[in-house]
Symmetry: C2
Amino acid sequence: MTTASPASGYVPQEGTRSARSRKAIVEAATETFLRKGYPGTSMDEIAGSASVSKQTVYKHFADKETLFTHVITAMLAETDQQNQAAVQTLGDTDDPARGLQELARRFLASIRAPRVLQLRRLVIAEAERFPELGRAYWESGFERGITTLAEGFRRLTERGLLTTADPVVAAHHFAGLVLWIPMNRAMFCGDQDAITASELDHLAESAAAAFLAAYTDR
Amino acid sequence: MTTASPASGYVPQEGTRSARSRKAIVEAATETFLRKGYPGTSMDEIAGSASVSKQTVYKHFADKETLFTHVITAMLAETDQQNQAAVQTLGDTDDPARGLQELARRFLASIRAPRVLQLRRLVIAEAERFPELGRAYWESGFERGITTLAEGFRRLTERGLLTTADPVVAAHHFAGLVLWIPMNRAMFCGDQDAITASELDHLAESAAAAFLAAYTDR
């Protein structure tokens, strides 16, 4: 039994040999794209790393771009699940200052993962050549993340613990306060420029404090 | 008469034929790097566009990387001059809300220039291969920009119009509030995804309002 999916060929039933091949292809593709970039990666190499024939790769993914898009959206779906869990915790908190600090720390930890940084750099590098990829990243990554975060702020606002006239704008602001500097630093200076744990704590605390001052009633 | 500069070969006296060659090389290099990326650009092509011999190019710039670094730092120096002027105006204002909105609008206009976006994408794409370039961009672009902005906030704090215990952290926060979303949108979705003038106004106003709420005494 298979289900059709226009974006990524056929999706085989879990546990079958075909499903195992597909999983191996996606893992090999993720690793190779992140390491070698989009132009530096060939379907031949992915087939080799996954120990399947090139024909099998094409059975699952129509072309390199389709496979790349699948890799990106799968990685973003993973991040989204983490965000959902973190924001759920925030919405339930009785101590917004502490909850915002904790969320800021989680965001900082998750964006600094080497895979996340490599993916981001890769998508930016290819955004002019493959505008659909950049767009997919924006919609499945950024916009979805902001929507999730806005939901948490909406709940805190309903519970009287924050004052956000527009929770979506507030979500933009929180992300900017927390992430602007460390994300740019990671993009331009790479991992070798390690930010210390105490610097990360300071970033999380100062961003949470500024946000709280901006978004609570005086 | 020439002056030595280890980073960019010899710098000829203004108005000489050599100075005109150098200017033509830098202009051709800027245009070609931005359009074709670093790996896609050759010194041959730059010499051709500048109508000089390859030997002349190498007389001014020891290698492609030196020329690329020069292009980047020259573009960043231009941005820095604009920032200095904008922040001077902010420090002199008697109406911080209006001054911050105006500064946010200027920042938004300057980061959305196609050349600035292309440069940024280019440096991010090459940051792993040429860490010194990413580092140069970070120091001459980001850190210098933050230092300039912090100076403006320091003056407003001394004049009693803002309350910033740490003007550098405040500068990080202002940049993040204003730029996080539009910069990422530009990076991933490109220019074709035009943000309207009224959306930009709204971004500038909401960022300035959040900053002011966070950084004025209650």
